[in-house]
Symmetry: C2
Subunit: 322 residues, 2 copies
């Protein structure tokens, strides 16, 4: 079922009409939406809806609202992060310019709300309320992420809170919206939300791990990119918390270094991580979140047979290597 | 009534809670909303609603949605225009930075949708549909405005289309939404929209006129600012269309001048406008739009007594000198 859902989503996304004129405003939307990606969020919405209603096809447009919203955040985040590439292609602000990326992003957020208008009227106020709260939280997470770059240290709790806002709550909403659309009871949609937030948090920790311990052949991005950029990932935060003596001095000197060989920095910082058992500490934390997510799935009052496609999809997410 | 509406709006706006943490995200929203302004758009919404329902108080929150949306567009436009000042105070991107202004603006647009959720459920889909269309058009208008800066010439029709998208349709929506909220028939809300677009177009032409022919003591901004900046206003577009011979050469040389005395440029370009009767040509056009707006008001199927506050308010807009 998941493959049919994905094909349907990609088909529908390729045919979406966002607007025509002026082209500078609308072309970047089609461009960023065409860069692909796993369509993870709308797949989750439709798999979630199918727990309660066989006819997931009727919910494709609201599911795509979440994908459009997600890509809107990418378009604006890329400006703020001055990122030149997104999925191996030039970012919108790089291909056009910052003003185009600001304004196309704005109209993209409006497009997301327009797609949400395909929610049945009796469900619309609830869907919008949940969507608005999530959208504000994603902005909060992005602001915190930018703030953290300027801070000398960030605590584990602060970091988990930030990635939950920036990344995980949108996976929570994706699953919750599926339930809302398919008329699931409140207790079930709450469980779906909790499940999405937990899986999403584990998912981000996995991202942090793959950056250091991923297989370069499978990973796609440059292994060690976060280390090179001093990105405050869970691994670095944990290492800064635990390092003592020589490890602490060496780690700090790599963080302060302005001129270095990338491979050397990646190797030496990874060595410190290894000494401090950062990999398994992160895996423990990640697996706690995945376990919480799977526990929520167990608790859902739906037959195992109905759960199977969602369970399979989430298992694949958990074990992904890129 | 208008004064009570304005006081109620300002009171409600000063008490709005947008969010708390992180402060960089939410403080700019309170800041830009506190800079004041005439609250023209929500006043129009509530005056419009009071044509059909005495209890305009129940519609304050959706009316403020339009004011929040308007200020969101100002926050993002100021980044794109690199404007240092807004209503005599530092713009958000100047007081904080571009990234804060992008992200606060984003969450502000979400806040506008959240305020729209106070529309009665049975009216919500229609209100959202109208709001979305208008929001996209305002973005289109801003993109066209930026595009026009790069073009050697713009036609009168292109200019009118641009200001209608950038400015006038939001005044149309303001009036239309009042009708929708107060359960007015479709024919009446269509008339209200048409009225707002016409008045809004005249309003922008008046802005263009005041920049050149305003009374400095009353105007607030620097008279001649558009001339100094080569802004493609209706006046300049008309002058470029009509100038011949000496006037044409002189006008073009002022547009190409990179080093000049501001007062001299303003005086000489104004002289060319005067020779070409640009003021009265603009007034004729502006008055056509005002007449169309007032004609729509005449056509509204509501007693003259009920119309009086809205009529008075619009008359004051038409005759404003700042």
């Amino acid at each position: 079922m998941t493959q049919i859902i994905l094909d349907t989503l990609n088909q529908e996304i390729s045919q979406l009409q966002y607007g025509q004129y002026p082209p500078e405003l609308y072309e970047p939307i089609g461009y960023i939406m065409s860069l692909g990606g796993k369509r993870l969020r709308p797949v989750l919405t439709l798999l979630s809806s199918s727990l309660f209603d066989d006819n997931w096809q009727q919910f494709v447009k609201p599911a795509i609202a979440i994908e459009v919203f997600h890509n809107f955040t990418l378009m604006h985040d890329d400006i703020m992060d001055a990122a030149p590439l997104r999925r191996g292609k030039p970012t919108v602000h790089h291909k056009w310019n910052n003003n185009v990326a600001i304004l196309s992003g704005d109209v993209m957020l409006v497009c997301a709300y327009e797609l949400l208008l395909h929610v049945k009227p009796e469900k619309l106020p609830l869907a919008l309320k949940k969507f608005n709260r999530c959208a504000a939280q994603v902005c909060e997470g992005q602001q915190l992420d930018m703030n953290f770059e300027q801070l000398p240290t960030v605590s584990e709790d602060e970091y988990i809170n930030m990635i939950q806002l920036k990344t995980a709550v949108l996976l929570g909403l994706s699953l919750e919206l599926g339930g809302i659309l398919a008329n699931a009871p409140l207790q079930q949609t709450d469980l779906l939300y909790q499940m999405g937030v937990a899986i999403g948090t584990g998912f981000q920790l996995k991202d942090d791990l793959l950056d250091v311990y991923g297989d370069q052949a499978k990973f796609g991005k440059q292994v060690g990119g976060d280390i090179i950029a001093n990105k405050k990932t869970f691994l670095l935060i944990k290492a800064l918390e635990l390092a003592e003596g020589n490890s602490k001095v060496t780690l700090q000197s790599w963080l302060n270094a302005t001129s270095f060989k990338a491979e050397e920095k990646v190797k030496e910082v990874t060595d410190i991580y290894n000494t401090l058992h950062i990999r398994s500490l992160t895996e423990v934390k990640m697996n706690e979140f995945f376990a919480e997510g799977l526990h929520c799935l167990d608790l859902l009052a739906v037959s195992e047979e109905r759960k199977q496609p969602l369970r399979d999809f989430i298992e694949r997410l958990i074990h992904r290597e890129n």
